[in-house]
Amino acid sequence: MDITTYAIDLTIKPTTFDLWHVCLAGTVAVLAGLLIVVMFMMLSSLLRRNEVAAPAVQIVEKVVHAEPVVQIVEKIVEVPVDRIVEVEKIIEKIVQAPAPAPIVLKESSPDAALQLLYLLQNDARFIDFIKEDMTEHSDEDVGMVARVIHEGCNKVLDEHFSFASICRENEGDKIVLSDGYDAAKVRVTGNIVGNPPFTGTVIHKGWQITDVRLPNTVQGYNVNIIAPAEVEL
């Protein structure tokens, strides 16, 4: 046979319909079908991967606990197993390549802070007191006014925050910190050696806020003004 006869001319249509052609067409169809199936599965699992963070493997584990009741699906499924396993591998690969979490620095919004200053000044004259030159006044005068300010500030704090102490033990009592204690809640100091559990003395019982009830403000409200000037007419 001439070499040119091996060149593929796509325009040519088979003129004879023999077994070879049928086999060829069948093979092409099966391969194309397989390709489509694999592509589809990859695509669908990728899409689901985006929706759900749980790895596919976990689901397999989960289903083990349930009892087989419904048996509809087994009849239909004729897809060879190995291809499915392939898909799972792809999923696992995605799971195993987490992007390194970027370090985000949270910027505090000044609004709430200014609002608190407003409340402390408005209800308790806090800013007036702190900003006053104390060197000019006697301890007696300062103490007298401090009582008023202290009372007012306490009222403001109680009205807008719920306070709780972190340690139930009294200050000065012994405390045992078990392994895995929350280092954000308890700060150990001094002779920090060895491994938890640590035994120590409560120096400060700690404060935490359990509830915040700050007022709402109207759009366009200037939070920078914590005490308007007062002019009597």
């Binding site: 689901r48 419904v70 699906v73 897809v79 006053e132 006014v145 109207v218």
Partner: protein
């Protein structure tokens, strides 16, 4: 179509609840999917788990063990469509409080909560508070920053009410409307004419006490709607409290104000009764052990501006305890605010002795300081508390005003001043005031609450005569209460309740009667609103209901047919038109007394009330009565419309009265010749 799509379809079909939206029905399908997956897996094919994954996302590792009912119940609570609430509104002189309970289920459980009312606390700042101060501020157009008066439900509220009004008004009293409620019951003023604030200069816009009441109710209604968008207040069982001493006109005005803001279904309840309902609610059924047949419960309700007294009898009927409100006191304008003011003036006098002059803002600051100091002195062992009024400028210490309040002063001023140890025969002192302005409220002249109490108990000595189980000794000079319930913030000071009990028990001892017990347990600030909400529940047929009806009998004054005597006004007879204790929903007529009314003309009657004449039936005609038996209320008025009739024509009518389900008194003139009926109005004031 791929195999997988087919499979997915099939799998979805096999799990009927699959297309769920939220967690409501999550557990059921999860079990199914799990089952399917297993069956597939058993055949060595786990492909099924992938398409189902998105649906199983809701299943935590523990999910299959969670009960289905739990999920469903939470999803029901999340929407308030079709919910029904019992709402109590304490429309107080100085504060309003709202309390509510869900009564949709109709069960016997009743758990209520006090609603936080969103309100402005200063310009542009909105906070939720349990109390809405009953103040209204008429701001100058240039006074506040633009767009700073905004509410979550209204970008341009018509009135400034609540905490902000009180705060702004404390520095600019000429623009502050306060105590609107006391004005509603003030004889001699038209409550729908703009009279508040009474001391305002010309260019401050005045409003009527009625409008102020509307504004408070409207604010609460809107605050409610914001929290319960699917259950407007107009569709709930609303109970509004009024002082027991409110006259028919003031009750009518309150109901009218409620109607005008869409609360046409609201009904009225007397405040001392509300306090007792709250006590009943708080005892969780134990009240039947604490109260017994023959008890007379005295409710002493001292609010910010008023003192309200009521007597409630405990009787037994068919083995069940019955409660009947048998008497209410007069409208006494004397309350906790008077006490704080009295202390402030005591301290002011001390400071002025040192040669300093006080400005009005300093007196006000002193009042605040004294209120706190009083509470501290009463609740601790301290003998004196310093009172410091810092200067108004940014330097606190320069110009600071300093004094102290001692426990002896508090005892002298509050306990001996307001609760003097008097004999039960003493009566409040009244002096004829000279130059009394009609634009002011008729404040009580005698601050001695115990004297008012003595007068009340003596006047109501026969209030319980109709009950067989209650017998006073022969020599009794006053009605002997056997139990006392206190209400109102001033009674947080135990020293005051102790003194009142001591005085009362002293009176009882003199007449050899057993000492009265103290019924404790109500929240002194919130009890009235709570009791009102509980009353909404009681009206559904749950729990005990206090009976009572009208707290007075009512009379119209008619001129006697006598030859005119020069220089003498025609003699007035009082014709009973509504008897004492008339129940809600009942009505009476006086067919025998015929009046000729002129069409198109205004006809006025004198109108009287008596809280002691219990025996008078409708139609009783009095030609003589003791001064303290009948008290004259505002005149009532009827105008016969000319519709279908000739002006000037005289129509024979008779009078009738009805107590509405809402709790107001209605007077009517009914034609004797046709079916014409005309309402007789109360709220016409000179």
């Amino acid at each position: 179509m791929s195999f997988f799509e087919q499979m997915k379809k099939k799998a979805v079909e096999s799990a009927p609840n699959k297309p769920h939206k939220e967690g409501a029905s999550s557990t059921e399908p999860i079990k199914q999917t799990a089952a399917e997956s297993v069956s597939v897996k058993n055949d060595g094919d786990v492909s099924d788990s992938a398409p189902l994954k998105s649906d199983t996302v809701l299943a935590s590792s523990k999910a299959p063990t969670e009960s289905k009912t739990h999920d469903l119940s939470t999803s029901v609570i999340n929407h308030s469509v079709g919910r029904k609430y019992a709402v109590g509104i304490d429309l107080g002189t100085t504060h309003c409080v709202m309390s509510y309970a869900d009564i949709t289920e109709g069960g016997d459980d009743f758990t209520q909560q006090v609603m936080g009312i969103s309100q402005l606390t200063s310009p542009s700042v909105i906070e939720e508070k349990l109390q809405l101060p009953s103040f209204l501020y008429q701001a100058h157009s240039a006074e506040l920053p633009e767009n700073s008066i905004v509410l979550p439900w209204n970008a341009k509220p018509e009135y400034i009410v609540g905490e902000i009004a009180r705060n702004l008004g404390s520095k600019t009293p000429i623009r502050l409307v306060s105590s609107a409620k006391s004005w509603l019951c003030h004889a001699g003023v038209d409550c729908k004419s703009p009279i508040l604030p009474p001391d305002a200069p010309e260019d401050v816009k005045r409003i009527s006490p009625f409008q102020a009441t509307q504004a408070y109710l409207e604010h609460m209604s809107a605050a409610w709607l914001r929290l319960h968008p699917n259950a407007p207040l107009g569709d709930q069982d609303v109970v509004i409290t009024v002082p027991a001493s409110f006259d028919p006109a003031a009750r009518e005005l309150t109901v009218e104000a409620a109607r005008s803001v869409g609360l046409g279904q609201a009904i009225l309840l007397e405040e001392p009764q509300a306090a007792l309902y709250s006590w009943i609610d708080q005892t969780h059924g134990e009240w039947r052990k604490q109260a017994k047949t023959g008890d007379i419960i005295l409710v002493i309700d001292v609010g910010g501006g008023t003192t309200d007294l009521s007597l409630i009898a405990v009787t037994e009927k068919d083995g069940v305890l019955d409660l009947t409100r048998i008497a209410v006191g007069n409208h006494i304008l004397l309350g906790g605010d008077n006490m704080d003011l009295a202390l402030a003036y005591t301290v002011k006098a001390k400071i002025e002795k040192e040669g300093k002059r006080l400005e009005s803002w300093q007196v006000q600051a002193l009042t605040h300081g004294c209120r706190d100091a009083k509470e501290k002195l009463f609740s601790s062992q301290m003998t004196s508390v310093p009172i410091v009024v810092p200067s108004r400028g940014s330097s606190l210490i320069d110009g600071v005003l300093r004094s102290e309040l001692t426990i002896d002063e508090v005892r002298r001023v509050l306990i001996d001043g307001f609760l003097p140890q008097v004999a039960v025969s003493e009566r409040p002192v009244t002096q004829t005031r000279t130059g009394l302005r009609t634009t002011g409220l008729p404040y009580a002249q005698d601050a001695g609450i115990t004297r008012h109490l003595a007068a009340f108990l003596a006047k109501q000595q026969n209030a319980a005569d109709e009950f067989e189980s209650i017998n006073l000794p022969e020599n009794a000079t006053f009605l002997h209460p056997t139990a006392v319930l206190f209400n109102g913030g001033v009674f947080k000071a135990q020293a005051l309740t102790e003194r009142l009990m001591a005085v009362l028990n002293n009176w009882l001892r003199v007449e050899n009667a057993p000492e009265a017990r103290l019924l404790a347990g109500v929240d002194l600030d919130l009890a009235v609103a709570r009791g009102a909400a509980y009353y909404g529940f009681v009206r559904k047929g749950k729990g005990v209901r206090i009976k009572g009806g009208t707290a007075a009998s009512y009379y119209v004054g008619i001129e006697s047919a006598m030859p005119a005597v020069p220089g003498m006004p025609p003699e007035i007879h009082a014709l009973c038109i509504a008897p004492f204790g008339m129940e809600e929903g009942s009505q009476v007529e006086l067919p025998d007394e015929e009046f000729g009314l002129v069409i198109g003309e205004q006809v006025r009657f004198k109108f009287f009330a008596s809280t002691t004449r219990r025996e008078d039936i409708v139609g009783t005609r009095l030609d003589y009565w003791q001064d303290d038996e009948l008290s004259e209320l505002n005149e009532i008025e009827v105008v016969l419309d000319t519709e279908g009739r000739r002006a000037g024509e005289i129509i024979p009518v008779h009078l009738g009265s009805a107590v509405t389900e809402v709790g107001t008194l209605e007077l009517q003139a009914m034609s004797n010749v046709d079916s014409g009926r005309w309402k007789i109005e109360f709220d016409v004031r000179n």
